[in-house]
């Protein structure tokens, strides 16, 4: 028991090390501008939508399915809600239903398209993504349109954090305590083996798309409520949302050996958001911000993806030492 709690504390320290390092780095170099309570609240608020999108993508990504339509669905659902809010003066509950419902329906359509076409998910979802992006323009809404204020309540603090907390609990429960969650993990470990033990990969794939729709819908709702505006996406510009969240997921994946994947994804997205905010706080010229962001992401990815090699190296060294010790004793 003692060693278990020791391991848990050790893992928690390891997990918190990376965000702490990023926090200290920016807090020191921005001369205290970054890291105030206000700035950390803003960063936490920005982490919500990104984390929910990462969680939406997680089951599919774990099963090696790249769903590239998530960004477009997020945009489409918020545009749909905003369009009806402006033109039909719908009530707030209906607005919520429209935004989340659109995301679920569209994600389900993506899932059906993937299953029916039998081509790699990346290809199917790329095509579907472009169709969805074009649909946003057919709604005849301006390039940037403001959402009426009465619909932005879900972006307020603490409402957005409460919703986020509920969604995290739901994800944790589904992923670790339901048959579907076990199936996802089994398929992620090996599709053929999962199939052999009676798991239906196609049925589960569809359910993953439906579940993804729920999380994308809530992410979209919170995102549009916080920003108070929508902008139509075209020509795969929704990938901007997608790739940031994907990076958050991969950082989370690298931390999986120390914590639950949900916590890893949350930390991953928190780091990504801190980086964006930190680069702004450093006062870097806008042209340098993207270069710096790219470099930092590259470093994080190099470190996280080579983590195994580094630990293997030290493990081998330790083993070699032990063998040498044994030889010297026996000699």
């Amino acid at each position: 028991m003692h060693s278990k709690s020791k391991t848990a504390i050790g893992n928690a320290i390891k997990v918190l090390c990376v965000p702490l390092f990023v926090y200290l780095f920016f807090a020191i170099f921005s001369k205290g501008k970054f890291g105030s309570t206000n700035s950390m609240i803003a960063i936490s608020q920005q982490t919500i939508a990104a984390t929910l999108v990462s969680l939406a993508m997680a089951p599919n990504l774990l099963c090696n399915r790249f769903d590239l339509s998530v960004g477009a669905i997020m945009t489409m659902s918020s545009i749909m809600g905003t369009y009806l809010a402006i033109n039909n003066s719908i009530s707030l509950p209906v607005f919520v239903l429209i935004v989340i419902g659109t995301a679920i329906v569209m994600n389900s359509i993506t899932g059906i398209a993937y299953l029916a076409m039998k081509v790699p998910a990346m290809v199917t979802t790329l095509g579907v993504c472009m169709i969805y992006e074009m649909l946003t323009n057919l709604l005849n809404i301006g390039w940037c349109t403001a959402l009426p204020e009465q619909y932005t309540v879900f972006g307020n603090i603490p409402t957005c954090f409460i919703i986020f907390g509920v969604m995290l609990v739901i994800f944790y429960f589904i992923y670790t305590h339901t048959g579907f969650g076990y199936n996802v993990r089994a398929i992620a470990s090996g599709q053929q083996i999962a199939k052999n033990i009676g798991i239906k990969p196609k049925k589960n794939a569809f359910l993953m798309f439906v579940m993804s729709g729920v999380f994308v819908g809530v992410a979209s709702l919170i995102n549009v409520s916080i920003s108070g505006q929508i902008a139509s996406e075209q020509y795969f510009s929704s990938a901007n949302i997608l790739f940031n969240c994907m990076l958050g997921f991969y950082v989370g994946l690298a931390l999986i050996r120390y914590c639950n994947i949900m916590v890893g994804i949350l930390i991953g997205n928190f780091i990504m958001t801190m980086m964006s905010a930190g680069l702004l706080a450093l006062g870097l010229k806008s042209s340098l911000q993207n270069v710096a962001a790219g470099l930092v992401i590259l470093v994080i990815m190099i470190v996280t993806s080579n983590q195994g090699r580094v630990t293997d190296y030290f493990a081998m060294k330790h083993k070699a030492k032990e063998i040498q010790k044994k030889i010297s004793i026996s000699g």
């Binding site: 501008k33 970054f34 105030s36 206000n38 700035s39 803003a42 960063i43 608020q45 920005q46 369009y83 009806l84 402006i86 033109n87 039909n88 003066s89 719908i90 209906v94 239903l97 429209i98 419902g101 329906v105 389900s108 359509i109 899932g111 059906i112 323009n137 005849n140 809404i141 301006g142 390039w143 940037c144 349109t145 403001a146 959402l147 932005t152 972006g155 603090i157 239906k200 196609k202 049925k203 569809f206 916080i226 920003s227 108070g228 505006q229 902008a231 075209q234 020509y235 510009s237 901007n240 964006s276 905010a277 702004l280 706080a281 006062g283 010229k285 806008s286 042209s287 911000q289 993207n290």
Partner: protein
């Protein structure tokens, strides 16, 4: 598998049905007034408006004129600016017997522009006006047009590279461009913020690469350089405006202004309110919108600059003269159009009445006066002067008889 797919499809269809039913039940009224599009002059169909916008009979009627088709490459025709631009061009088209084909582009990359030009040319247009077109691709664009014997003009932009500029201006198939005083706009939004008491300003701009936004950005930076008493609390260029603004607000407690190169009310209002800084942080921006008047009225908006929907009028006139065989000049011309600055609600109301209202800034009759075929005295200088005089005050004076 088939059974499962059937079940899944049924599930999705049911969901769609439920959503549709919900929508039918929840729709209260079809206001359709503020979707980012603006009301057209046709909305107020008074006799005066009809007379002002109609043909006076001084120049040939549309039915007697040769028919032309002109393509306009643009990013949208649905927002406050572009919907009005489209309405204006369609109005002029009716009087000049010209059909405008609006080719909506999905991004501002060179390939997208070149594909759009190629598409329009293959559809048999007589001319192409590309908005926000810039860089070396212009030469390629002109070359495509030349190979199809189609004229090309540019809106919202100016050729900045001198080598490209010389080649383009001397090409017989390039008619020229119209561009706005974007540098001044960027400069003025910061200076006005400062004049209205905001001294700690965050600068936010659209992704680099579009000439008009680049110039606005340069103007913003210059204003900070020229006046050391104005502090730039941070700068950001891209499309993640909300997080950037949230971070600026969170990390700079003394921030009291935001200068943004586009749609300030739409992009900044909510994050400022959410941060509890309503009334403490003023917005200054380029681009008029549906929310501009309310912003100016309650002081949230310190200044807004716009009125560029008339831009494509100038390449159109240059192009029409070429098509009619009565070019105003031997070489292409680049025409600067001032932007309209509104720092008070009254100024914006005047703009909406006289410029963006029921009578177009240059009516069909006034436009025909710039065409040599209709008016042998027409000169390039007149068109350049007309552009330079573009302002609410000028239009109010010119159209005084319609607003008595």
């Amino acid at each position: 598998m088939k059974r499962f797919l059937k079940k899944a499809t049924a599930l999705v269809l049911s969901a769609i049905m439920c959503v549709s039913l919900g929508l039918t039940g929840c729709s209260s009224s079809q206001s359709g007034s503020s979707t980012g599009t603006t009301s057209t002059p046709a909305a107020s169909t008074t006799a005066v408006t009809a007379t002002a916008n109609g043909d006076s009979g001084k120049y040939p009627a549309a039915s007697t004129l040769p028919h032309y088709t002109i393509g306009i490459v643009i990013h949208s025709t649905q927002d406050f600016l572009t919907s009005h631009l489209k309405d204006y061009m369609d109005y002029l088209g009716k009087s000049f017997n010209v059909d405008f084909k609006f080719q909506i582009i999905e991004n501002f990359s060179d390939d997208t522009y070149l594909n759009a030009i190629e598409n329009l040319c293959s559809q048999g247009v007589n001319g192409v006006i590309c908005t926000n077109f810039s860089g070396t691709a212009i030469v390629k664009g002109i070359s495509i047009c030349q190979s199809h014997k189609v004229y090309m003009g540019i809106g919202f932009s100016q050729i900045t590279d001198s080598s490209i500029r010389d080649a383009a201006l001397n090409n017989p198939y390039y008619v020229g461009s119209a561009y706005e005083s974007d540098f001044k706009a960027g400069y003025d939004i910061v200076k006005t913020l400062a004049a209205k008491g905001s001294k700690n300003i965050a600068a936010i701009g659209y992704t680099p690469g579009i000439t008009c936004h680049d110039r606005r950005w340069a103007g913003i930076l210059q204003a900070f350089k020229d006046d050391p008493s104005i502090k730039k609390v941070g700068e950001y260029r891209g499309t993640n405006w909300t997080p950037a603004l949230q971070n600026f607000l969170a990390t700079n407690s003394d921030m009291d202004g935001v200068a943004i190169t586009l749609l300030g009310m739409e992009l900044c209002s909510q994050p400022i309110k959410a941060a509890g800084k309503e009334g403490k942080v003023k917005i200054a921006c380029v681009d008029f919108s549906d929310k501009s008047l309310a912003g100016l009225k309650d002081g949230e908006l310190a200044i807004t600059i716009g009125g560029q929907f008339v831009d494509t009028f100038f390449p159109f006139i240059l192009m029409y003269n070429k098509l009619a065989g009565t070019a105003l000049s031997d070489k292409a011309e680049e025409i600067q159009v001032p932007l309209i600055e509104c720092t008070t609600a009254q100024q914006f109301e005047d703009y909406m009445k006289y410029v963006n209202g029921s009578v177009w800034p240059w009516t069909a009759d006034e436009a025909k006066a710039f065409v040599k075929k209709f008016n042998p005295d027409a000169k390039m200088g007149d068109l350049i002067d007309a552009a330079a005089s573009y302002s609410t005050e000028n239009i109010k004076q010119r159209h005084a008889q319609w607003f008595k």
